[in-house]
């Protein structure tokens, strides 16, 4: 599935990284410790995290993550969104919790 399709199916709001909407996404990784994500996440994964600092973009590029979903309407720093645009990493926002998002994703992908 493409990141853009996923966001339509789940009603996600795109915050940044429009240039990456045609990326393939598969699998989900949920973690807020960046070092875990760096060593465990797989390419094309949908990464759910509450971390919003600039480093999430570097980690996404390093691990070739498909897209990032920030739960619970948590605000993301401008500097992070700007970098995500540059690197074409889609960052989506949802009002749902990480658990709710995970349950929904299980049925979808």
């Amino acid at each position: 599935m493409l990141a853009g399709e996923l966001s339509k199916k789940m009603g996600l709001k795109l915050l940044a990284g429009e240039g990456g909407l045609s990326k393939n996404v598969s699998g989900v990784y949920i973690c807020d410790l960046l070092s875990f994500v760096m060593s465990k996440a797989e390419a094309c994964n949908i990464w759910i995290t509450v971390q919003t600092n600039l480093n999430i973009v570097a980690v996404s590029v390093l691990t070739e993550i498909g897209c990032v979903i920030i739960p619970e309407n948590i605000e993301v720093e401008e500097i992070t969104l700007k970098k995500a645009d540059e690197e074409k990493i889609p960052i989506f926002s949802s009002s749902k919790s990480a658990y709710e998002l995970a349950c929904e994703l299980k049925g979808l992908i």
């Binding site: 410790l33 960046l34 070092s35 760096m38 060593s39 971390q51 600092n53 480093n55 570097a58 590029v61 390093l62």
Partner: protein, 218 residues
């Protein structure tokens, strides 16, 4: 940021004491200490260690051997992730003349598998001082991760950023039992502090600096 550039910038700014605290590595300290000695600046060996909880702690020592012992433990406690120079840049090792002698291949800006408590204990055992770094920051800080400074770890000193000092963060009553320091945390030459932070020391030695930082406020 090479040994000579750091030391010469420190000299220009009139600094008497500096410390090198690279992320999880002590490979460039000996060269910098050597350069600093040549111009009469005291350079302390140290590191900025990342705990498994992704909290940054500054560890400082009065001697290089203790710092290397700590570095060895840290090297063995990493989950090895290869550095990507396109994202994180090269992790160079240089000599006293700023010549590149090697590279660290594994990513240094990641977490060790050591807890905050373990890092504190090991530093104490090696005669150093362990200081929670930039506690006012939103990330990689003991307060942003734990919500508080753990009471059961006998920290004597905490570090806050320069901006936080200006905002009066250090006046917070919950910090009254700690020495509060603010450092350059310079990742490039321009960020090295001016001559604005002071210690009162009997002698200008590493031992005196460490002892000062370890002295708890009663």
């Amino acid at each position: 940021m090479t040994p000579n550039n750091i030391v010469n910038m420190a000299k220009l700014k009139g600094l008497n004491i500096i410390a090198i605290t690279d992320h999880n590595s002590a490979r460039n300290i000996a060269a910098t200490i050597s350069c600093a000695k040549d111009v009469g600046i005291l350079c302390l060996p140290g590191m900025e260690v990342e705990s498994t909880e992704e909290i940054h702690l500054i560890v400082l020592f009065s001697d290089l051997i203790s710092c290397f012992k700590m570095e060895k433990v840290i090297e063995q406690s990493f989950t090895n992730i290869k550095n990507d120079i396109n994202i994180f840049g090269e992790q160079i090792i240089v000599d006293k003349n700023d010549n590149i002698t090697g590279y660290k291949e594994n990513l240094l800006t990641t977490a060790t598998n050591l807890t905050v408590a373990q890092i504190f204990e090991l530093t104490e055992k090696l005669g150093g001082v362990c200081i929670p770094a930039h506690i006012d920051r939103d990330s990689y800080s003991i307060i942003s991760t734990f919500g508080m400074i753990p009471e059961d770890i006998a920290f004597s000193t905490v570090e806050i950023t320069k901006n936080a000092i200006k905002r009066g963060y250090g006046n917070n009553i919950s910090l009254c039992k700690y020495n509060i320091i603010s450092s350059s945390d310079a990742h490039c030459l321009g960020f090295i502090s001016e001559r604005e932070n002071y210690f009162k020391l009997s002698n200008l030695t590493g031992k005196d600096v460490i002892e000062k930082l370890k002295t708890r406020i009663k």
